[in-house]
């Protein structure tokens, strides 16, 4: 019995990943096909629940004119149903996720191993195919239920020069702002307050940034928003179990943005600023300038930690955003309506293109 050691890591694992992804059947129709921004996602999944998860959580768009987007074909497999697929074993000399990531990136691939759930994800960008290999059909992390196949989309978009970003968003009269900061800074609550007051959004958790446009644009990827019970109470929203279901792994409710405020979903937001929210308990909200460096420090840690691999590209995209978009500290007041009005007035005051 030989497990893969660090010395053989660079050769064996990428070979295994490519061998697996090459087995994907592209001649048959996929189980799920979704049109996402700049990407058509095709998924083969044995488990019908996982197929439903993709269809429910990922924000499909209407097809646009022009050249069809790149097709990303993914297979979601588990060992119970496909025992012939047996994952690589790693010996103790393999020193961690960074070493794995570096080995795959050096071989022109992306990959991630989740030790808790013993699941692998392999992505071959040359073939635009990927495979998720799980122990059984339910053995995936709880955040996978909120954003299935997140890492694959992260890798595919990064290779396009675009970037998944962990941020909130609000827009008003054609001007959009990102909401950036660590967990608990108030991104989701502020996004929700804005939506309820009539502002638009492309999401409060993950969105897609296209920095290649003349002005950076944010696109929606997810259908659901999240908020904890206290946050809903502040917004005077009753957490009706029929509407909101039960609490997720973070102790938050997940609910469809379209169901809460049907006109709030924006197909895209042209970005004019980055807001850095902070809960202050003050009577009124205040906005004052932040430096580009402060914007980077607000975006960098969460975004590089939660999205494995492609770190240099991530730093470059974040730095580019910080240089092109003015940053502002947003000291949050206590009244959600006042917060939304402050942001709306701020966005209206930004110069138009």
């Amino acid at each position: 019995m030989t497990a893969i050691c660090s010395a053989s890591l660079a050769q064996q694992l990428p070979r295994f990943g490519r061998a697996l992804t090459a087995k994907l059947r592209r001649d048959l129709p996929p189980d799920v096909q979704l049109r996402l921004p700049f990407l058509t996602l095709e998924v083969d999944a044995c488990d019908p629940q996982y197929r439903q998860l993709c269809q429910a959580m990922l924000c499909a768009q209407q097809a646009e004119d022009g050249a069809p987007p790149e097709v990303l074909r993914l297979a979601v497999c588990d060992q119970r149903q496909q025992p012939e697929l047996r994952p690589p074993q790693l010996d103790a000399s393999v020193q961690g996720q960074q070493q794995l990531t570096a080995a795959f990136e050096a071989a022109g691939m992306d990959a991630h191993y989740d030790a808790t759930y013993q699941s692998w994800q392999f992505y071959d960008p040359d073939a635009a195919t990927g495979l998720q290999l799980m122990r059984d059909s339910q053995a995936y992390p709880p955040w996978e239920r909120t954003f299935p196949l997140r890492n694959f989309l992260h890798w595919a978009y990064a290779r396009q020069g675009r970037r998944l970003l962990h941020a909130g968003s609000l827009g008003h009269h054609g001007r959009g702002a990102l909401l950036a900061g660590a967990g608990g800074a108030g991104k989701s609550g502020t996004t929700l307050a804005g939506i309820l007051a009539g502002l638009q959004s492309v999401g409060d958790d993950y969105l897609l940034i296209d920095p290649k446009a003349a002005r950076p644009i944010a696109y929606p990827l997810l259908t659901m928003m999240k908020q904890d019970p206290a946050g809903l109470a502040r917004l005077q929203i009753k957490a009706d179990p029929q509407r909101f279901g039960s609490l997720n792994w973070q102790g938050k409710y997940e609910f469809a943005l379209a169901g809460l405020a049907p006109d709030s979903r924006a197909a895209q937001l042209a970005l004019h600023a980055v807001l850095l929210p902070r809960i202050t308990g003050a009577a009124r909200s205040q906005i004052h300038p932040a430096s580009a460096r402060e914007v980077v420090l607000a975006l960098l840690p969460n975004n590089l930690q939660q999205l494995p691999g492609q770190m240099p590209q991530g730093m470059a995209v974040i730095a580019d955003l910080a240089r092109r978009l003015p940053g502002y500290h947003l000291a949050l007041g206590q009244d959600p309506a006042e917060i939304a009005a402050t942001i709306a007035q701020f966005l209206e005051g930004l110069p138009c293109d």
Binding site: Q12, R86, Q89, A92, G96, Q97, L297
Partner: protein, 140 residues
């Protein structure tokens, strides 16, 4: 003369209006360099030696200590390493310009290190080895 170079391709940095965010891609540690620390980084990127900078400054007392402490912190963080080099063309003028800016910043050498990302990255264990043999052993 003690010259320095960036420790390797795993050190990535971005400049924002004469301030820097530096990221160690191997460890995940990232650093905020502002005021005097940013100017020292600029000087090192320009190929200036520490002595050239210090001489141009005619540092003394607290300023000298702050300058040396900043260099030591960057070295200890493995962002820079000492190297054999020669002074680049125009070094004297460059050192003089930077020195003037360094003097204005006084003893304010803002060099902050952040470990939150590094802790999350390095805490990911992958040493679990399953009892059942996996690839490259195929089932019989």
């Amino acid at each position: 003369m003690t010259f320095y170079r960036i420790a390797g391709p795993h050190i990535s940095w971005e400049e924002f209006h004469a301030e820097y965010v530096v990221l160690d891609l191997e460890t995940g540690r990232y650093f905020n360099l502002a005021a005097g620390a940013a100017l020292v980084w600029t000087g090192l990127l320009d190929g200036l030696s520490s002595q050239m900078l210090a001489a141009a400054l005619a540092l003394g007392g607290a300023e000298q200590l702050a300058f040396e402490h900043c260099l030591a912190a960057m070295t200890a963080a493995r962002l820079i390493v000492a190297t054999d080099a020669t002074a680049p063309t125009g070094a004297a003028a460059s050192a003089s310009d930077l020195a003037a800016q360094l003097l204005a910043s006084g003893t304010d050498y803002r060099f902050e290190a952040f470990d939150d990302l590094a802790e999350l990255l390095t805490a990911d264990p992958i040493h679990d080895v399953q009892a059942e043999a996996g690839w490259p052993h195929l089932p019989s």
